[in-house]
């Protein structure tokens, strides 16, 4: 077992960190307050080849591995959960499935602009009445000649309002449950009947648009079917195995950012004649923050390394996502506490990490669903 990153991975992490500290950290709170998707930041991420890290070079990606992608995602999370979330959704959910399940023509047309950062990606699984139980899906796709006609409503879709393509899950065989779901590539600009009906105001992550979308007789050519009819759920499971690693990485970044803020503050803030980090109560808290962050990172990297070895990672990615998301929320909460009154103000980052971290326990499978997945994997 080798716990050291390669020189290449380390260099990429350090370089991304420098960019994040210089270009993103100074505006992280501002874009939250403005509820503004920072398109200019994503343009720069594209120029630095960050938008397609684990996508093959043939389609404009970097050709890096999942570990490299996890490192980049963690660094984004360390400064901005919202930018990190839009980034992870773009790569893991909106781009990666096209690479895994698309035809060469589909990759050429749809994946290349995503991997190079010209366009943002989204995917649409959740519906108003269908969350953890995705088999209870109402969005339907009916074949009509050489076209499909999509109707339904999708809920909590990250990036939908800024996306160049959305991977929409819809029922092609009603009554077949998981085996009746298929995936379609929808173009929000060109396809009539696609409408973003709501951009939600949220507890956090407000620079990352979370949308409700309505599909009203959206007609798309049959070449927009991703993979085969009925494969939608299998694709989803495979996509989430990778996606959960990125949410774990993002959560690790949130925890790291919160831990660093608390560590620095506790070393500078003096009360009763000494830095508060010298008091057992605060020292132990900061040490625990470090412990949880490091644990989250190790589980994340283990899942990523196994993914890169081509092994199944359902257990590892669920475990990493479950642990890291809880670590992020706990570490961020403690960071607010360490900073006291200042931690509760928007002038300091811990409150933002705290707000952002909560979603990590909900999106891409709630913590309860991760327990369900893990229980099954353990044969319980």
């Amino acid at each position: 077992m080798d716990f050291e990153l390669s020189a290449e991975h380390r260099m990429i992490r350090d370089s991304v960190r420098e960019f994040c500290e210089e270009e993103i950290a100074p505006i992280a709170q501002e874009v939250e307050n403005e509820h503004r998707f920072p398109a200019e930041v994503f343009e720069e991420l594209g120029e630095l080849d960050m938008m397609g890290v684990p996508i093959s070079e043939e389609y404009g990606g970097l050709g890096g591995d999942q570990l490299m992608y996890a490192l980049v995602t963690e660094e984004l999370g360390r400064v901005s959960g919202g930018i990190g979330l839009s980034y992870a959704a773009h790569v893991s959910l909106g781009s990666k499935p096209i690479e895994m399940f698309g035809t060469d023509e589909q990759k050429e047309r749809w994946l290349t602009p995503l991997a190079s950062g010209e366009e943002m990606a989204a995917w649409a699984l959740t519906e108003p009445g269908s969350g953890s139980d995705a088999s209870d899906m109402d969005t339907i796709a009916e074949k009509d000649g050489d076209e499909y006609v999509l109707n339904g409503t999708k809920q909590f879709i990250t990036n939908a309002s800024v996306a160049g393509s959305v991977l929409v899950k819809a029922v092609t065989e009603p009554g077949e449950g998981y085996d009746g779901i298929s995936t379609f590539i929808v173009d929000p600009e060109e396809d009539d009947g696609f409408e973003v009906t709501t951009v939600w105001d949220k507890m956090g992550l407000n620079c990352s648009p979370t949308c409700e979308i309505s599909l009203d007789d959206v007609r798309i050519p049959e070449e927009r079917l991703l993979g085969e009819e009925g494969e939608g759920w299998k694709q989803t499971m495979k996509t989430l195995d990778g996606g959960r690693i990125s949410i774990a990485a993002l959560s690790t970044g949130l925890a790291q950012g919160a831990y660093e803020a608390a560590k620095q503050y506790s070393g500078e803030r003096e009360q009763f004649g000494q830095p508060i980090s010298k008091f057992d109560a605060i020292r132990d808290k900061v040490v625990d923050m470090y412990r949880k962050t490091e644990r989250a990172r190790l589980l994340t990297h283990k899942a990523a390394v196994r993914y890169d070895a081509g092994e199944r990672v359902s257990t590892e990615s669920a475990l990493a996502k479950l642990d890291a998301s809880e670590a992020a929320r706990e570490v961020a909460e403690d960071a607010v506490q360490v900073l006291g009154g200042y931690g509760y103000t928007e002038d300091f980052s811990p409150q933002r990490f705290y707000r952002d971290a909560k979603l990590m326990e909900i999106g891409e499978g709630t913590s309860e669903i991760q327990h369900l997945v893990l229980g099954r994997q353990l044969g319980l």
């Binding site: 260099m11 990429i12 991304v16 420098e18 630095l48 080849d49 970097l62 050709g63 980049v72």
Partner: protein, 265 residues
């Protein structure tokens, strides 16, 4: 075909709170990074290469194996290949002085035969601020120090430069090639290395060069300068806080300024 040689250095950066250990700073408080001035020199060279047809950018450093990561950053930003000068003999040297660096870098210049050598004005750690000009003198190149604007006329063999002098004075001058220019921060906006650049840099050549390769033995590192002590300078700060409304505080400020002689005839 034009060749630009850029000298780069890995410098130690010290944390705000640190401890001195003998003649140096305790390693626990040090982080290593590419010297800031050199980052601008690399950027300048790469921009020339991008604007020109056939320009090769070669980066050279004197440093231990650890410094490969630093010089690889120059490769990631667009340098074509690199040279790293090192030898076991360096391990026992406390202070590599300007004369020793000049000997080594001049030997590399003679081997590579570049049209232009770009160095940083100074290094952020030992800060001699002399190596670039000293190398120019040794190899007989023209030179200009503290360059903050460069317009290269490669066909005419002339570098039009703007130099930053003391007291805000600037000088515009022409320097015939081959030349050494020491590059000031602010001359350009150094890019972030792209991730593809970093990946490609892993496969670019960093050629090792020993003292022997450059035609020297260990005596090339000898220096009349010895490091005899390291201490933190005493620092004093004197802050006065004026309290009251604008009129009162302005009066207090005016009084202090008068006392200090500001505005006196």
């Amino acid at each position: 075909m034009m060749k630009i040689l850029v000298t780069v250095k890995e410098v130690a950066e010290v944390e705000d709170d640190f401890e001195i250990d003998g003649l140096g700073i305790d390693e626990a408080y040090l982080e290593y990074d590419l010297n800031e001035w050199d980052d601008y020199a690399v950027e300048e060279a790469v921009q020339i290469a991008e604007a020109g047809d056939d320009v090769e950018v070669v980066s050279v450093t004197i440093g231990p194996e650890r410094s490969e990561e630093t010089i690889r950053m120059a490769l990631a930003k667009g340098a074509d290949r690199a040279i790293r000068v090192w030898d076991d003999a360096f391990e026992s040297v406390d202070l590599l002085d300007v004369a020793a660096k000049t000997r080594l870098l001049a030997a590399v210049v003679e081997k590579e035969d570049p049209d232009l050598v770009l160095t940083g004005v100074q290094a952020a750690d030992d800060g001699f601020g002399a190596t670039g000009v000293s190398v120019a003198d040794e190899v007989g190149f023209e030179w200009a120090a503290v360059v903050n604007e460069l317009d290269l006329d490669a066909d005419g063999g002339v570098a039009n430069v703007r130099r930053e002098l003391e007291g805000g004075v600037e000088e515009l001058t022409e320097v015939d090639l081959p030349a050494v220019l020491t590059i000031q921060t602010g001359i350009n906006e150094p890019r972030y290395a792209s991730l593809r650049g970093i990946r490609q840099a892993q496969r670019k050549e960093i050629a090792p060069m020993s003292l022997d390769d450059l035609g020297f033995d260990a005596s090339a590192l000898d220096s009349p300068i010895a490091l005899t002590g390291m201490s933190e300078p005493e620092s004093e700060s004197d802050a006065t806080l004026f309290e009251g409304d604008a009129e009162e505080t302005a009066a207090q400020l005016a009084e202090v300024l008068r006392e200090k002689g500001v505005g006196a005839q």
